[in-house]
Each structure stands twice: as structure tokens, then as C-alpha cells.
Symmetry: C2
Subunit: 190 residues, 2 copies
């Protein structure tokens, strides 16, 4: 997605430790016009998949999923991190290792919101090693739901998680795939 790649080149900042900061438009401050273009592109890519729900995980995936869901006319469910007083015992859960924070957390999703009749699209802002996506795939498997697609805004191709999911047969589409990055520049996959 040309518009997105240009924005990453203009406003993204590469930091030590394979960190790409895009917090001026994607995951701290949100450029809602850009999110609309992203949502429109996800709709173009996945509109034929007979989806029933869009699934993401807090927090950075929520705005992307909510804006995209307007094009699909579907509800969003976001998995939550860790246990909250507001969550019933009746949840699916999966332990996820966070690359960003360097610790483990548990993703939970109430059972009543996902079942065997569902065909879901998983949306998220980043895919690196793929740990968060594997957690959501695990939750979908527990629910008996079909994962009809995975849509990612920025894939760090050099970390291998995306290719692993493609090799496993998932219908994964990333709007920008970074094959190399350093403070000197970013090279996108063609």
C-alpha cells in the first residue's frame, strides 16, 4: 500500500532493537484519515471471505479494527490482556510472549462472543515474530471458529513470523512488509 509505505518513510523512526516507532500516526496518535484508507484496503482484500466478525487484541489493534469494520458492516471483538474484574470465568485464553515488552501475558476473550459458526478476520497493527497472532489463532481454534484471513498493517518481514503463517496456509495480507530496516533506511518487500 503505497500511501502507507510513504507515511512510514516520512514519519516512522527506526530505533535500536528492531523497533519501528510509528506512534505519530498508528499507535499512540492516530491519523484517522489514514486508518480509513487502511480499512478500505482491508475490505478490498478480504470482502469475499463471508466473514462474521473482526477479531483483534488490545490496544493498538482496536482503532484499526473499529475503523475497518465500518466497511465490512461487522462487529469487532478485541481480546483483552490479563484478568479483569469485569470478565466472567467463561473465557478462552492463550499465553502470549510480548516482543515489545519482553514479558508474557494472557489474552482472554469471552466464549459467548466466538463460536464454531464464526468466520473471522484477524486485524492488527504489527506482525513481527507472530506471537500475538498465534495467540489469537489459538483462541479461534478453541472456539472452533474459522480464521478466513489475517490483515496486518506493518509486517516486519525480517523477523519471519509472517512467512511462517503463510507457510502454514493462512490467508495473510500485510499492507507494508519491511525486509530490512536500520536508522539509515527502510527496504520494503516488492
Amino acid at each position: 500500500m503505497e500511501l502507507l509505505e510513504q507515511r512510514i518513510l516520512t514519519d516512522g523512526v527506526v530505533k535500536e532493537g528492531h523497533v519501528l516507532k510509528v506512534d505519530s500516526f498508528l499507535n499512540h496518535q492516530l491519523d484517522i484519515s489514514l486508518l480509513n484508507e487502511i480499512g478500505r484496503e482491508f475490505f478490498r482484500l478480504f470482502q469475499g471471505e463471508k466473514l462474521t466478525k473482526i477479531v483483534t487484541i488490545e490496544s493498538s489493534g482496536i482503532a484499526i479494527a473499529a475503523i475497518a469494520a465500518q466497511y465490512f458492516h461487522l462487529p469487532v471483538i478485541f481480546a483483552k490482556k490479563a484478568q479483569s474484574k469485569n470478565i466472567d470465568g467463561e473465557v478462552y485464553s492463550s499465553v502470549i510472549r510480548s516482543y515489545t515488552h519482553g514479558n508474557d501475558y494472557t489474552a482472554i476473550l469471552e466464549k459467548k462472543f466466538l463460536g464454531p459458526d464464526d468466520r473471522v478476520l484477524i486485524l492488527d497493527d504489527f506482525l513481527a515474530t507472530g506471537k500475538a497472532q498465534l495467540g489469537l489463532l489459538d483462541i479461534a481454534r478453541q472456539a472452533g471458529a474459522t480464521v478466513a484471513g489475517i490483515g496486518i498493517v506493518i509486517e516486519k518481514g525480517f523477523q519471519g513470523g509472517g512467512d511462517h503463517l503463510r507457510d502454514a496456509g493462512y490467508n495473510l495480507k500485510s499492507l507494508a512488509i519491511i525486509d530490512e530496516m536500520s536508522p539509515d533506511g527502510i527496504i520494503f518487500r516488492r
Copy 2:
């Protein structure tokens, strides 16, 4: 907001400890059509305020703020909870006591996204004692930004945080205010 009150009566569940679960449409599963009506109503209420940014806090406020921002054509900034490897040292921060989780957390927002020229609208899903809103007000004060309005989807009027903010002179509008609730019923403020 009649549509919202009806939805709370239909799908909200009152639990022990003054907990109102609206997770089937507002903060776990998201009814995007309803969020659009909520966003439209916030725009009607605050469109004259010469706003520059919409501010919220992760996670439940994000979808509400992102959808509403489409009507205002403004960027959203969401404050994050606790420290992350992706956040620079240059942040505003405020300690907030969580009623839902019964613990303290620190809300942080990068300084580069908010300054003295900003007139912000704070949006959130719930207002109870007002602790989260006071944290965002504290961050806005540190930034020298003007808080031109506070928009809340559901105010638990019986917990007093909303009236405290009104008494302090804030332009607070809540789309539904609950004055009493129990497993037997919910009474809205007229």
C-alpha cells in the same frame, strides 16, 4: 441518548459491586453502528468547540474516540497505561487509581503530541468516580492544553465523579447517566 439507554436496558447486565457489563456492544465486542451514532452525537454536542485533538485512554476509549474523530476530522491521541519499551522518556504522566481493577497505574502520553496550542475533547466509555478523567485532565494541565469538553458514553451518576467535574466547571456531557442500578433495574437521570 435514547438509542443508547435502550441498548443498556436490553443488553447491559448489572453485577455485584456496582459493575455494569456492557461488553456485548461497548467494550469487548463492539457494535460499530452504535459507535457511529455515539460519535455523531458527540459531534453534535462539541462541534462548536474549535477542537484540535481528541484524547482518550487505552483500551476501552480507543474505538469510541477513533469512530467519533471521523466526524470531527481530528487526530486521536490515546494515553497508555504503564511504561513500554516503545515510549521515549519525554512523556507526561499521571497516576490513576483503577476502580475496575482495584490497583494504581500510570497513564503516559508523549509530550510531542500535546501542547499549549491544543484544545482537546476527552472521550471515554465510562465515568464513575472520575479517576481516569482526572488523570487525563492532569496530563492536559501539564501540557498547557485547554480541555474544551469531556464526552462520556455511560456515567454512573450515583458515584459522583461526573457532578464533581461539572461543579469544577468542566463542559462534561454524558450520553447516558445512571442514577440507580441493581440487578432489578436501571434508572437513568432525566
